[in-house]
Symmetry: C2
Subunit: 349 residues, 2 copies
């Protein structure tokens, strides 16, 4: 039921100015989305890597505690390192991991939600030891007159979720780490329910490995507790391998609509949807049987990481869900569906 926009992909790495002359942009994807003063605003995850000057060396960028970008170089013939994964390299003896790219967040704005003007400079760059390997996958939630942006903070200390807030997308207040590692795919509810703030989050237990969507509650958006499991993958289905929050919950006449991602055992990422009552965000009352969007278009099937559609944000305009999504960890794309039709397809459970 989601219809891909004919101009897809809307934002590609080639259109993004690198943050430094010695870097190249290899991904512009997984964008948070919101409406702001008559425009659609996106915060795009921009992944960069050092420009390759010598194919014999792998270059691994990271931010120092002083906030400077530094590069570790590893020779391709060095047997101490496992270089089989293009995204991350691993020291065979110590287990140390280094990433081959580093992400920051970039603001893009559009009057029609299709043609975006992307800022030439970063909106948020790594600025703490918890962000040494980058800031990723932002979700934007308007709560009252502030916008809260949570994002994944990646470093040798793990994969954590941090929060910033802004009244105007100019002044940024850092609110600290809200979920210690490993935890990502946090989606904040846009208003308090029963006097508490809520969010979905996705812990990543290392031993039991069950990657499911949990709910947490907070009095103030900074301190979170009362965590409980909400939605798990279904064996044998498209979301069997793992699930995680996608776009922040959307208030509808039938309850809270969430669009989430699921992956199967082959790391093929699709999107699904579920519904909870307005006053019980931990109770699933309906869920899409199949995926609502799956990798099919060439820019979804091929890219930096193949077979991925992954959302960090959607907006509702004139009864249409405009779903912004990352395609193949490379570009920003758009698909649209009538909200009522999307709700109609969910199967009560």
């Amino acid at each position: 039921m989601f219809i891909r926009h004919p101009d897809n992909p809307l934002i590609t790495p080639a259109t993004i100015r690198p943050s430094r002359p010695d870097l190249e942009v290899i991904g512009a994807f997984n964008a948070g989305a919101t409406l702001y003063r008559g425009e659609v605003l996106l915060l795009v995850r921009v992944a960069e890597r050092p420009i390759v000057r010598d194919e014999d060396w792998v270059q691994c960028p990271y931010y120092t505690p002083q906030g400077d970008l530094a590069i570790r170089r590893v020779h391709r013939d060095d047997p101490a390192w496992d270089l089989s994964d293009p995204r991350v390299i691993r020291h065979r003896a110590t287990g140390e991991l280094l990433l081959t790219s580093v992400s920051h967040l970039r603001l893009a704005r559009s009057r029609d939600g299709v043609r975006f003007s992307v800022s030439d400079t970063p909106w948020l760059t790594p600025a703490s030891p918890y962000e040494a390997f980058g800031v990723e996958d932002p979700r934007i939630t308007r709560i009252g007159d502030h916008y809260y942006i949570n994002y994944t903070a990646v470093s040798p200390h793990g994969i954590a979720t941090a929060l910033v807030s802004t009244p105007d997308f100019v002044h940024i207040q850092r609110e600290g780490i809200i979920f210690p590692p490993d935890n990502r795919d946090v989606t904040l509810f846009p208003e308090p329910v029963n006097g508490q703030y809520y969010c979905y989050h996705r812990p990543m237990p290392g031993m039991f490995k069950q990657m499911s969507i949990w709910l947490a509650a907070s009095p103030d958006l900074r301190h979170w507790g009362d965590s409980r499991l909400v939605l798990a993958g279904r064996p044998g289905q498209w979301d069997a391998g793992r699930v995680g929050g996608g776009a922040p919950p959307i208030a509808t006449a039938r309850g809270w609509l969430s669009i989430y991602h699921g992956a199967d055992e082959h790391d093929r990422y699709c999107l699904g949807a579920f519904l909870t009552p307005y006053d019980e965000p931990g109770r699933i009352i309906a869920r899409s049987a199949g995926a609502v969007l799956w990798p099919e278009a060439p820019y979804e099937v091929d890219g930096f990481f193949r077979n991925v559609v992954f959302t960090c944000g959607a907006v509702v305009m004139a009864g249409q869900v405009r779903l912004y999504y990352g395609a193949a960890d490379a570009t920003v794309a758009l698909a649209e569906a009538p909200l009522d039709q999307l709700l109609d397809t969910l199967v009560p459970c």
Copy 2:
């Protein structure tokens, strides 16, 4: 400087009455400790397993969602399961894990802190889907006129930390999960600092695997945020592999004293200590250079899991730190040290 008590180990599995006639106690260890009405109270982790009636079958106990104890049996010749670890078995195809024992918490009390009377019935048994594989490693912290007990909740959903409170060790109030999986070794501060509650916690990032001690803050003990790294292991030393909180912080004239555990790459668990200013629980000002206690006695070197000393609680009486600790994941032991001497050995950093 810690002197082992000559009566060690103080509590052994043989002295514990099983919670059911078809179970046997295989461990009584990792006890939380507090002073209560002139007695030393321990909450002992009691590990039980189904009595072995047929050596050909591995029996894996777990609690159903209805709170009943059930047993999965796996034949030792079944090639689908990896049975090489006596503590946990793993399905080779699905990765499913089952534990071979299940823990509950048992109250023990003593007037002299040495001779303990252990209750014949459990004090806390698994009662939620997050505790299907047991409740482990309790820490007791008196805050105001209530005692807060946090413990590790283990289930297929991961290794989480839950909280209960009690005014009298009779009436128990469940406060929910305070740290989603994987996170354990939580130690609560016994009083608010600068108007906030604090705790140390130990996230377990699965990809980067850095197992360090973090601080978190809370307005109400149920909701936690502002997580930050406090103390990491030191390469090449006894705590190189991982560190985690041990006994809840002890207020001293020089600041907060914490006794923590560290393990090396061979999973040999020792205990160390560190100090923070009273009003800055996230800043280490002194730390033990070597371990303050290491596996040496026969009951520490041999047992269910060899070469482990691990603490969940200490009390201070007449200037002496009485450190209760689990020995080899099997028994409860006691070691004592003068508080001032222990503080003197810490090296400023």
